[in-house]
């Protein structure tokens, strides 16, 4: 386009500034109102196609069940103290009525009455028979003898039940816990526990038939309170308020019990922490970057006012894009929400090219309109080529099947075009409407005189040496590329140093499970039972919470009822026998036998589970470290302590008292537990179980699967995913969704990259009309890309967020290369090219690097921080390759001669 046309355009902007400014303001206001209809979608499922089976299942479960939770932990106390403090904490939470209104249910312990009244209906027939044998004579000695017989039959005599899965390991661990509690309680009583014998006997029986009162970790060093919220996890304001209030209460408890540790975790707490981190990441890195950029511009550019105008034009361009989103796709997700940073990174570059050249012209005394006309003539073609190429590259992503990619392609592509439009219309309008008064500028400015020297040097021998170093670096970087890995775990993308994450890590360590469960909704209890059984055999599954555990099939229940009724009918309380010295010795022998059984069961389990299993850990802590025939570190010696207590002649009376109460209490308990005449139905279940496992309509049932802590590594995560798929295709949750999205994105990345590349090559060929220039731009792009990925391989892994750097860096690098190539047609020497275009590119690159560097240094979201690192490296690589490759190659072709003055200004002056 001829200079006259640009002059007419500049004059038009200057003369119609008032109506144009009003139009811009109106467009801005309209866009602002349109943003109101944009919905923020932060969940993984929002980025996958709705017909994806995992997404469909997840959405359906979200509609039918409440799967979110807040987990509170009490740690580092004795089990009794942690239980008492947990009750106090729950009371404190419930006393705050405003806070308690946000809870659907608070679970601190099992429903004891339910377990006593319905426990036998929930037991397998084999276990019922064992219970019957053990309680036939409910005194301590026959009970313990029978317990030992059952243990040996189940675990040792047949070569042992194979313990292959963590779920089976957990069952054995529960048995060890029950035995420890039982033995420990007897010892306590004999050694003078002041509570009455009946209370002690009831406790003993509870430890065997009900299990732990609270949700303790296997090592009894942690206790968990589970809260089901009455609000949705999408209600971000509410979740932050609730978590803040809960943290106030736990802080209060910390003051009362300074020796205990309190923690808050679960998906609700993590969302609240992420919300706070998002707020930090959105403000502080940007602020830091802004300050550094302002310093850079202050010492580099003639006018700070022009920088402000560029920022206004940029902000309006982004606002227009938001307005467009508001009337089209109406949503932003985790991927598309990064479009702002992307547009700032690319858009400010467009502005810098304009304000640098405009400022230089005005400084030379050229009139503003004339300066603007020349600036636009010089900058619109390369900036447009760079911008449109990048926009088309992003639009190519719309061909993808992944919803997140399609939306990102549309939002980023349209955003670049709108920012480009704003830079060519609003920025010139502002620069011409609010002209700077001519004052002497006394600021110290960076001269950038090294750039022409660099241009000159590249043409000499130094150019060859620099090129050789670049080739060497590129080859070295290329060697590292195959070792790049991808982090599939979405949980690594969020902030890692939050309080909820720290609590989550402690829970994982203590319970050896991940607090991020997967779910399956089934329509019948029969299906629930079948699936649950399969899940419990899987190596990647730690715990399964299933409705079939609480609602056995009618056939099973009827068989059990028949057996229990017969048992109940024949119940008789034998006459209490007084324990003499011989019987106490026998009792002591049975305790020793129990210890040996525990030792051997753990030994034999270690063949399958390895010698660092939870079983071995538990055995060694409750007894002592056992290394074959040798003893290692000391343990709690719970069995030997009881044996020592039994052997104390002074304890005889107390043993007899306990034995007598135990006999009565156990008889009463068995009588109550066998008083069952009807099958269990949904209405018999405690409210907390109904809330968790039965849908609001009562037509479907929820199975919750907790993976082992192995899912922290990639192999464990893939194993869990594949085992879940083997059991049922409908199993969904954070891990399956995370993997589905990552797999989809990775499989699409190759196709998307090819589409982007094809669009870029096609557009460059059309605009340059030169195969060599297109090839040069692509070589420079490829070198920059190799340097970026190769160097990043040494620093980290790719992930769902930083993979977005790939299209972005293509856009940035193309922009730089197009400017260099385009300027070569205009500039008469490499010195002048470097002084003008080189300076703009350097400033653009420094701005972008500062912006992304601030994210890398200050970003609390690991995904965002890694994106910052990658883009910092990418921009640096693009800068290096664009300022070396094209000048060095073209200077060797003799297309440009060194030392010529820059004459385009004179040519253009002639045109006037």
């Amino acid at each position: 386009m001829k200079i006259e046309k640009w002059r007419d355009y500049a004059l038009f902007l200057q003369r119609r500034k008032i109506p144009l400014l009003i139009t811009v303001a109106l467009l801005g206001i309209l866009s602002f109102f349109s943003t109101g209809s944009i919905e923020m979608k932060t969940r993984i499922e929002d980025m996958l196609p709705e017909d994806n089976p995992i997404v469909k299942s997840y959405t359906a479960i979200g509609d039918e069940f409440n799967t979110s939770s807040i987990l509170l932990t009490v740690e580092d106390g004795t089990p009794e103290e942690m239980g008492r403090v947990a009750d106090e904490l729950v009371a404190l939470l419930k006393d705050d009525h405003d806070l308690a209104a946000n809870f659907r249910a608070v679970r601190t312990k099992m429903d004891r009455d339910f377990m006593i009244d319905k426990g036998f209906l929930l037991s397998e027939m084999e276990d019922l028979k064992d219970f019957k044998n053990m309680t036939e004579n409910p005194a301590l000695l026959p009970f313990l003898t029978s317990l030992n017989d059952n243990l040996e039959a189940a675990w040792l005599n047949d070569g042992g039940d194979d313990i292959n899965s963590p779920s089976e390991e957990q069952d054995l661990l529960d048995s060890f816990n029950q035995m420890e509690n039982f033995v420990h309680n007897i010892t306590n009583w004999i050694q003078g526990d002041e509570r009455d014998a009946r209370y002690a006997a009831d406790n003993l029986i509870d430890s065997l038939f009900v299990g732990d009162a609270y949700f303790y970790s296997p090592d009894y060093k942690m206790l968990i309170i589970q809260i089901s919220p009455a609000f949705s996890i999408g209600d971000r304001k509410q979740l932050s308020n609730v978590i803040d209030s809960i943290k106030e209460k736990t802080a209060l408890m910390e003051k009362l019990y300074p020796h205990l540790v309190f923690g808050v975790s679960g998906d609700i707490a993590q969302e609240a922490d992420e919300e706070a981190a998002l707020g930090f990441d959105a403000l502080y890195p940007a602020l830091a970057a802004l300050i550094v950029i302002l310093f850079l511009f202050y010492f580099s550019l003639p006018s700070l006012r022009s920088i402000l105008f560029a920022l206004i034009a940029l902000a309006l361009g982004i606002l227009f894009d938001l307005g467009l989103i508001g009337v089209t796709i109406k949503e932003l997700n985790m991927i598309t929400s990064s479009f702002g940073a992307l547009l700032v990174g690319l858009g400010i570059d467009f502005g810098i090219h304009i304000i640098t050249r405009y400022g230089d012209s005005v400084e030379q005394g050229i009139s503003p309109v004339e300066a603007m006309a020349r600036t636009l003539k010089a900058t619109v073609p390369p900036v447009s080529i760079g911008g449109i190429t990048t926009a088309l590259a992003f639009f190519a992503l719309c061909l993808s099947k992944t919803k997140g990619f399609v939306q990102f392609g549309f939002v980023a592509g349209s955003g670049i075009l709108l920012v480009l439009f704003a830079m060519f219309t609003i920025l010139p309008l502002l620069l011409l409407s609010f002209k700077k008064k001519a004052v002497q500028n006394k600021r110290i400015r960076i001269s950038y005189s090294f750039l022409p020297a660099w241009g000159r040097a590249l043409q000499g021998k130094a150019g060859i040496s620099v090129m050789a170093v670049l080739v060497l670096l590129t080859v070295s970087a290329a060697i590292f590329i195959p070792s790049i890995s991808y982090d599939y775990d979405m949980r690594h993308i969020g902030p890692q140093n939050t309080p909820s994450k720290a609590t989550e890590n402690r829970i994982m360590e203590a319970y050896e499970l991940s607090p991020f469960p997967s779910f399956l909704s089934v329509n019948s209890l029969e299906e629930a039972e079948e699936v649950t059984e399969s899940l419990r055999k899987k190596r990647s599954v730690s715990t399964v919470s299933s409705p079939s555990d609480y609602l056995p099939s009618p056939a099973d229940q009827n068989q059990r009822i028949e057996y229990i009724k017969e048992w109940h009918k024949n119940l008789t309380l034998p006459e209490a026998d007084r324990l003499g010295n011989d019987e106490i010795l026998e009792l002591s022998d049975e305790v020793q036998r129990l210890e040996w059984n525990v030792i051997e069961i753990a030994d034999i389990s270690s063949v399958n589970l390895g010698d660092e299993s939870r079983i071995i850990e538990k055995r060694d802590s409750m007894i002592r470290e056992i290394l074959g025939a040798q003893a290692g570190e000391a343990g709690r010696e719970v069995f030997q302590k009881l044996i020592a207590a039994l052997n104390d002649p002074a304890a005889k009376e107390r043993i007899n008292l306990l034995n007598s109460e135990f006999q009565k209490s156990l008889f009463e308990r068995v009588t109550r537990m066998t008083s069952v005449d009807s099958a269990l139905s949904i209405s018999d279940l405690p409210q907390s179980i109904r809330d968790e496992m039965i849908s609001r309509e009562g037509s479907s049932f929820l199975i919750t699967v907790y993976p082992t802590d192995d899912i922290q590594n990639r192999v464990g995560m893939f194993r869990f995913d594949s085992e879940m798929l083997n059991v049922h295709k409908g199993i969904t949750g954070t891990i399956p969704l995370s993997l589905a999205l990552s797999k989809e994105i990775l499989s699409e990345t190759g196709t998307a990259a090819l589409a982007v590349l094809a669009v870029v090559v096609f557009f460059l060929l059309i605009t340059f009309k030169s195969l060599i220039k297109t090839l040069l731009a692509m070589i420079s792009l490829a070198v920059g890309f190799i340097l970026m990925i190769g160097s990043y391989t040494l620093l980290g892994e790719m992930n769902l967020v930083n993979i977005l750097a790939i299209p972005l860096i293509i856009g940035i690098a193309i922009d730089y290369n197009v400017h260099i190539i385009h300027s070569l047609d205009r500039e008469k020497s490499f010195e002048t090219l470097m002084a003008s275009t080189g300076k703009s590119i350097l400033l653009s690159a420094l701005t972008t690097m500062i912006g992304f560097g601030s994210l890398a240094l200050l970003g609390t979201f690991r995904g965002i921080a890694t994106l910052g690192i990658l883009l910092f490296l990418g921009t640096l690589s693009a800068l290096i390759s664009s300022l070396i490759i094209i000048p060095v190659i073209l200077s060797r072709q003799g297309e440009k001669k060194s030392g010529e003055k820059r004459i385009y200004i004179q040519e253009e002056l002639h045109e006037q």
């Binding site: 005599n157 070569g159 292959n164 051997e600 399958n608 010698d611 290394l627 074959g628 025939a629 192999v715």
Partner: protein, 253 residues
């Protein structure tokens, strides 16, 4: 019959008869040699066993070091006992197998336990990893299976074995035997028709006490995605072994 038909007839006759000419030995002869070379009066070995529960996670493995003694029993049966030497927690644990039962000795408690239900096809709580007693069953292939020759090349015979006894847990096995030493290099164990349940590969053969024997044996279990590797460090044959070694009373000393 014209010349052309004659030629075709000769061609088919050659095709049909050729294998017999090339194979030379029948399947029975080959498997008898395999059994003969695996049989000895007694064996003493030191070995390590690596159990990998999931081959996609090769770092997660359990390694056991064992010492094994075996010999023929009085009435044709096999007597064997192996002692765990490592890991330290299991050091001294022993498993004794005789025709009349199996016993486990726990050094941690000093007790000996008679196992009532250890089956031929199984292993005691995973001892042996993917190997069952049957898979390791030495010298009995000819008794348990009827073999036929499937193919032969310069170095290997490929045999198919169909069970001839009800004690066998597999529906068939495919065995590749090296012609030089009659030691199987690969055995596929089938339960179904298409995919093998387990695949045993002899990775290395070495001379122990002047006798060639598998030194590294790998067993893959594709359905479980698991693998067990046995490495034999030392092996002695035909040394006299005292009866007491194979009696549970040895543990009570």
């Amino acid at each position: 019959m014209n010349n052309k038909q004659n030629l075709i007839g000769i061609f088919f006759a050659v095709l049909v008869l050729l294998p017999f000419g090339i194979f030379g030995e029948s399947a029975e002869d080959i498997i008898a040699q395999v059994d003969r070379r695996q049989t000895s009066d007694s064996e003493i070995s030191e070995l390590s066993m690596t159990v990998i529960d999931d081959i996609s996670d090769m770092n997660n493995r359990k390694v056991f070091r064992l010492e094994s003694f075996s010999r023929k029993g009085e009435e044709d049966g096999e007597l064997s006992v192996f002692f765990f030497r490592e890991p330290r927690r299991l050091a001294g644990m022993a498993i004794l197998s005789r025709d009349d039962g199996q016993w486990v000795y726990f050094p941690s408690t000093g007790r000996v336990r008679l196992l009532s239900g250890a089956a031929k096809g199984g292993s005691i709580n995973g001892v042996g990893g993917d190997f069952s007693y049957e898979d390791l069953g030495t010298g009995n292939w000819g008794e348990d299976y009827n073999f036929s020759l499937i193919s032969s090349d310069e170095t290997l015979w490929k045999l198919e074995g169909i069970p001839s006894s009800d004690d066998v847990n597999y529906s068939r096995i495919i065995m590749e035997i090296h012609k030089n030493d009659y030691i199987p290099r690969r055995i596929e164990f089938y339960k179904g028709k298409i995919n093998p349940e387990k695949i045993m590969t002899i990775r290395e053969v070495s001379a122990f006490n002047g006798r060639m024997n598998p030194a590294v044996i790998e067993m893959d279990n594709p359905s479980k995605n698991s693998r067990t590797l046995i490495e034999i460090h030392k092996m002695e044959f035909d040394r006299p072994l005292n009866d007491n070694l194979f009696h549970p009373r040895q543990f009570y000393r």
